[in-house]
C-alpha cells in the first residue's frame, strides 16, 4: 500500500477504535470511587500471610504463577537475545579499544557504583516490606555494574563480568522458582503454596515463601539483565559486521573471563 492509503486505513480504524473506547470509558465506574472485590481480598490475604507489601504478596504469593510466567518471559527473552545476537558465521570479533575517561566522570562513576550496588541489593531484600522487590532491585543491581563501563572501559567491565557465571545464575534463578513450587507439592500442598512460617509482619524474614521467590527473581533478573546488556554491548563494541574487515580477528585465548564468545577456531 502507498503511505497515503495506509494512513487512511489507519484513520478509519482509529476512528472506530476511538468511538469504541470512548463509549467504554463513559460506562466505566467514576474515577477513584469503586473498590474492587479482588483488591479487597488480596489485602486481606496478604495480611493473613504477614506480608506488609500487598503488591509483593500478589506477585509472589497469591498470583505467584503469573510471576513464574513473567520471570520466564525475561528468561526466554535473554536466551532469545543470546541466540539472535550471536556472532554470525561471517562476522568476527576484535578486542575492545582501551578508552580514556575524563577524571571527574571516572571519580563520579566509581563513587556511585558501590552505593548503586548496595541500593539494588537493598531493594531486592526488602521486597516484602517496602515498595520494590526482585524485579526492580535486580535491574538496579545489574545496571550498577555497568557504571564500570562508564568509569573505565569495556575491558574493565568484562573483567568483573564472567558471563558464564551470570548465565548459570539466570538459569538458577528460574530453576529455584520452579523448585520452590515443586517443593510445596512434595510437602503435600498445592504448587507454589506458601508453606514456610510467615514470620513477623514488616520484618525482613516475613512472608514465608514470598521472600524466597522474591530472592529467586532478584537473582534471575540481575543475571539476566547483565547477560542481555552484554549481548547488545558486544554488538556495539566487539562484533564487526561482515565487510567491515579491517582488524585482525581476536585470538582464541580465553581472555578476561568472557568465556562465551563464539570465536572462530584458530
Amino acid at each position: 500500500m502507498s503511505s497515503r492509503v495506509r494512513l487512511w486505513v489507519f484513520l478509519v480504524g482509529a476512528a472506530g477504535f476511538a468511538a469504541l473506547f470512548a463509549a467504554a470509558c463513559f460506562d466505566l465506574p467514576a474515577f477513584g470511587t469503586v473498590p474492587h472485590p479482588y483488591g479487597a481480598r488480596a489485602v486481606h490475604a496478604a495480611l493473613s500471610h504477614h506480608t506488609a507489601n500487598v503488591i509483593a504478596s500478589v506477585n509472589f504469593d497469591l498470583r505467584a504463577f503469573d510471576t513464574l510466567g513473567e520471570e520466564t518471559i525475561l528468561f526466554s527473552a535473554v536466551i532469545g537475545t543470546v541466540v539472535l545476537l550471536r556472532q554470525a558465521r561471517d562476522e568476527h570479533r576484535k578486542d575492545p579499544e582501551p578508552a580514556t575517561v575524563h577524571p571527574p566522570v571516572r571519580r563520579f562513576a566509581l563513587l556511585t557504583l558501590p552505593f548503586a550496588l548496595l541500593l539494588g541489593l537493598y531493594v531486592i531484600a526488602h521486597g516484602q516490606i517496602s515498595p520494590g522487590g526482585g524485579f526492580q532491585g535486580g535491574v538496579v543491581t545489574a545496571t550498577a555494574l555497568h557504571l564500570l563501563y562508564i568509569a573505565a572501559d569495556y575491558r574493565a567491565l568484562e573483567r568483573v563480568r564472567p558471563l558464564t557465571l551470570y548465565e548459570i545464575g539466570e538459569a538458577a534463578g528460574e530453576a529455584a522458582y520452579v523448585i520452590n513450587g515443586l517443593a510445596a507439592v512434595l510437602a503435600g500442598s498445592a504448587f507454589l503454596a506458601n508453606v514456610l512460617p510467615f514470620g513477623t509482619i514488616a520484618t525482613l524474614s516475613s512472608g514465608g515463601t514470598a521472600m524466597v521467590l522474591n530472592a529467586a527473581v532478584g537473582l534471575e533478573v540481575t543475571s539476566g539483565i547483565v547477560v542481555l546488556l552484554a549481548r547488545f554491548l558486544d554488538q556495539a563494541v566487539e562484533i564487526e559486521e561482515p565487510g567491515e574487515d579491517d582488524g585482525s580477528p581476536r585470538d582464541t585465548g580465553d581472555s578476561g573471563g568472557n568465556g562465551d564468545d563464539e570465536r572462530e577456531p584458530a
Partner: protein, 604 residues
C-alpha cells in the same frame, strides 16, 4: 497424587528442563542436550496425557481444577477440562515430535550454547500448555506473551539470512500490539467486575446488562486472540513468519500455536461473554462467521498462488483457521467438538507437510515449486508422505482431519446451508495446491513452469539449508517424524473412542454454567447431551468430493499453463500482503473497527 495437582506441573516441568539446559548447555555435548530436552518434553506429555485420561473418561464425573498456591478464589485457577487438557497433550506430543525431528537437524546451535534451541522449545511448550489450561484472564495474557516472545526468537533463529529477521519482526510487532489490545480489554473487564478469573468475571457480568463497556471489552480481548489466530484482517504476519522460521518451529507455529488463538476466542466467549450480561449468541455468530469466511477464502486464494512451499503451507493454515473460526462461530457442542477434532487432525497433517518441506530445503537449498520441478524424483518416500499430507489436508476419509471436517461442516450446515460448500471448496483448494506442488516436485508431471509471466510481487523459495551443508542422505528422524504424525492423524479418524471423547469434551466446553460451577463451587459437571463426531455417509461423500476436486485442480494446474487472467484479477489481493509492518498495523486497527461494527447491534 490427585490429578489436579498435576496441572501446574505440566507448565513447571518444561520450565525446569529449560533452566537445566541453559545452565549446563555450554558443557554438554549436542547429543546429551537433545536427549535432556526430549526427556523433559516427553515427561510433560505423559503428565498432560494422564490429566486428559483422568478428565476424559466417559460417564458422569468432573474435571480437575487446581487453585495454584492453594488460594481458592484469590489466586489463579488451572482447569483441566478435556478440551484444554487435550490441547496441552497435543502441544506436548508435537513438541516431542519436533525435538526428535531436529535431533540432527540444525547445522550447529550457537557455539557454546548447544542447549538454547531445545530450551526455547521447552519454554514454548510451557507457554502453550499454560495458555490451554489457565482459567484466569490475566494469566492467559501472560502465557500468551510468553509463547509470543519465544516464538519471535525462534522465528528469527537463522540470523545469517535476511528473510527470517523481517518475518520475525513483523510477527513480533503485530502480535505484541494485539496482546496490548487484549490487555486493554482485560483492564476494562477488571474495572467493571473487579475480578480476573473467567468464571468470576462471567458471573459478575451476568449480574448486570450488557452495555458499551462489555462490547468494548469483548472486541479488545478478542482482537489480540484473533491476531494470534491469524483471522483476516489480522493475518498478515503469519505467512511472513511461518514461511521463514526454521522448519521445526513452523511445525509448532502452524500445528498448534495459531489454533490456540482460536481456542482462546472460544474459551473466553463461552466462559465470560456467553451469558445474559455478555454478548448475545447471534451477534457473536455473525461477527465470527464473517471473519471466518473471509479468512478461509482469502487463505485458500493466496495458498493456491504460492510457489514458495512453506509460504503455501502457511496460507493453507490461514485458510483452515478460517474454517476453525466458523466451527467455533456456530456455537454448538457439535461444532466445537468437530472443530477440535479437525484441529487435532490438521496439526498432524500440517506438521508432517512442513517436515517434508524441511527435507527438500536441506537437500536442494530451495523450497521453490518451480525450481524444484522434477528434481525430487529420487526421494519417493518423501513424495508419498507429502502426497498423503495433501490428501489429509483435503479431508480424505478416514483421516482425523476428514472426520473433524465432516463433523464441523455438518454442524455449520445447521447455521447456514451454504457453509458445507465452503468447507469443501477451501479444503479442496488448499489440498489441491499441496498436491499440485507434490506432482511437480516429486513426479515432474506436466510442463516445467516458466517464470516469465510473472507480473505481481512474489516471494520465491530460495533459501539456505538449515543443516550444515546440503543433505546427501536423509537422516531417519526426518522421515520417521512425518510418517508418525500422519499415522497419528489417520488413527484419530479410525479409533471410535477418540470421537466419543472429543464429543464429550466439546459438550463440557460449551456448558458455561457447568464450567462456572465446577471451577467456583466445586460441583461435578456431567456432560450435557451431545452427538460425538462419527462417520456419516454425507461426511464421507463430501470428504471424497473435496479430495476429487483437489486432485482435479492439481492435475489441471500442472497440465495447463497458468491462467494469466485470474492471476491479474487477484493481483490486488496479493499486493495487500506487502511485507510492510506499517500496513499490518493499520490493518490491525481497522480490524478492531470491523469487529466493532459487526458486534455493535448487540448493545441495547
Amino acid at each position: 497424587m490427585d490429578t489436579a495437582r498435576l496441572l501446574p506441573l505440566v507448565v513447571a516441568v518444561p520450565l525446569l528442563g529449560a533452566a537445566v539446559l541453559v545452565a549446563t548447555g555450554r558443557r554438554l555435548p549436542r547429543l546429551v542436550s537433545d536427549i535432556v530436552g526430549c526427556a523433559f518434553a516427553a515427561a510433560t506429555a505423559a503428565m498432560a496425557l494422564l490429566v486428559l485420561f483422568r478428565a476424559g473418561h466417559p460417564g458422569p464425573g468432573t474435571y480437575p481444577v487446581e487453585w495454584v498456591g492453594g488460594w481458592r478464589r484469590v489466586g489463579i485457577v488451572l482447569v483441566g477440562d478435556p478440551l484444554g487438557a487435550g490441547l496441552a497433550a497435543l502441544v506436548s506430543l508435537l513438541v516431542v515430535a519436533v525435538l526428535v525431528y531436529s535431533w540432527r537437524y540444525f547445522e550447529e546451535p550457537p557455539r557454546r550454547h548447544t542447549g538454547s534451541f531445545p530450551a526455547l522449545v521447552l519454554v514454548f511448550q510451557a507457554g502453550m500448555c499454560g495458555f490451554a489450561l489457565t482459567g484466569d484472564l490475566f494469566n492467559a495474557f501472560v502465557f500468551f506473551e510468553l509463547m509470543g516472545a519465544v516464538a519471535y526468537a525462534l522465528t528469527g533463529f537463522r540470523v545469517e539470512e535476511p528473510k527470517p529477521l523481517q518475518g520475525a519482526l513483523a510477527f513480533g510487532v503485530v502480535n505484541s500490539l494485539g496482546a496490548y489490545v487484549t490487555l486493554l480489554g482485560i483492564t476494562l473487564l477488571y474495572a467493571r467486575t473487579g475480578e480476573l478469573g473467567f468464571a468470576q468475571i462471567g458471573r459478575r457480568l451476568d449480574a448486570e446488562g450488557p452495555d458499551g463497556l462489555v462490547l468494548a471489552a469483548f472486541v479488545l480481548v478478542t482482537t489480540g486472540l484473533l491476531v494470534k489466530a491469524a483471522a483476516v484482517p489480522f493475518h498478515f504476519w503469519l505467512p511472513d513468519a511461518h514461511a521463514v522460521a526454521p522448519t521445526p518451529v513452523c511445525m509448532l507455529l502452524s500445528g498448534v500455536m495459531v489454533e490456540l488463538g482460536v481456542y482462546g476466542v472460544a474459551r473466553v466467549y463461552w466462559t465470560v461473554f456467553s451469558g445474559p450480561g455478555g454478548l448475545s449468541h447471534p451477534d457473536f455468530t455473525r461477527a465470527l462467521l464473517v471473519l471466518g469466511v473471509l479468512t478461509a477464502l482469502l487463505g485458500a486464494v493466496m495458498c493456491w498462488q504460492q510457489r514458495h512451499l512453506k509460504r503455501l503451507l502457511a496460507f493453507s493454515t490461514v485458510a483452515h483457521t478460517g474454517l476453525f473460526l466458523i466451527g467455533v462461530a456456530v456455537l454448538t457442542p457439535e461444532g466445537m467438538s468437530g472443530t477440535a477434532l479437525y484441529v487435532l487432525g490438521h496439526a498432524g497433517v500440517k506438521a508432517a507437510l512442513f517436515a517434508c518441506a524441511g527435507v527438500l530445503l536441506d537437500r536442494y537449498a530451495t523450497v521453490d515449486e518451480h525450481e524444484l520441478f522434477g528434481r525430487a524424483r529420487e526421494l519417493p518416500a518423501v513424495g508419498v508422505l507429502f502426497a498423503l499430507g495433501g490428501l489429509g489436508l483435503c479431508g480424505l476419509p478416514p483421516f482425523g482431519s476428514g472426520l473433524g471436517k465432516a463433523a464441523a461442516e455438518e454442524a455449520a450446515g445447521h447455521t447456514a446451508g451454504w457453509l458445507p460448500a465452503l468447507y469443501v471448496l477451501v479444503s479442496a483448494v488448499t489440498g489441491g495446491a499441496v498436491l499440485r506442488a507434490g506432482l511437480r516436485i516429486f513426479a515432474g508431471v506436466g510442463r516445467r513452469p516458466r517464470d516469465e509471466e510473472e507480473g505481481g510481487p512474489e516471494t520465491t523459495g530460495e533459501e539456505e539449508p538449515e543443516t550444515g551443508g546440503r543433505l546427501v542422505r536423509i537422516p531417519v528422524p526426518l522421515l520417521a517424524v512425518p510418517a508418525a504424525l500422519l499415522a497419528a492423524s489417520l488413527a484419530l479418524g479410525v479409533i471410535p473412542a477418540v470421537g466419543s471423547a472429543v464429543g464429550r469434551a466439546g459438550a463440557l466446553f460449551t456448558d458455561t454454567g457447568g464450567y462456572r460451577r465446577t471451577v467456583l463451587d466445586g460441583h461435578t459437571a456431567a456432560a450435557p447431551a451431545h452427538l460425538p463426531p462419527h462417520w456419516q455417509l454425507t461426511g464421507i461423500l463430501l470428504g471424497l468430493l473435496s479430495t476429487a476436486l483437489a486432485i482435479t485442480l492439481a492435475t489441471l494446474a500442472v497440465r495447463r499453463p497458468v491462467h494469466t487472467g485470474t492471476a491479474a484479477l487477484l493481483a490486488p489481493v496479493r499486493r495487500l500482503q506487502s511485507g510492510h509492518i506499517g500496513d499490518y498495523v493499520a490493518w490491525l486497527i481497522a480490524g478492531t473497527a470491523l469487529l466493532t461494527v459487526l458486534t455493535v447491534p448487540g448493545v441495547r
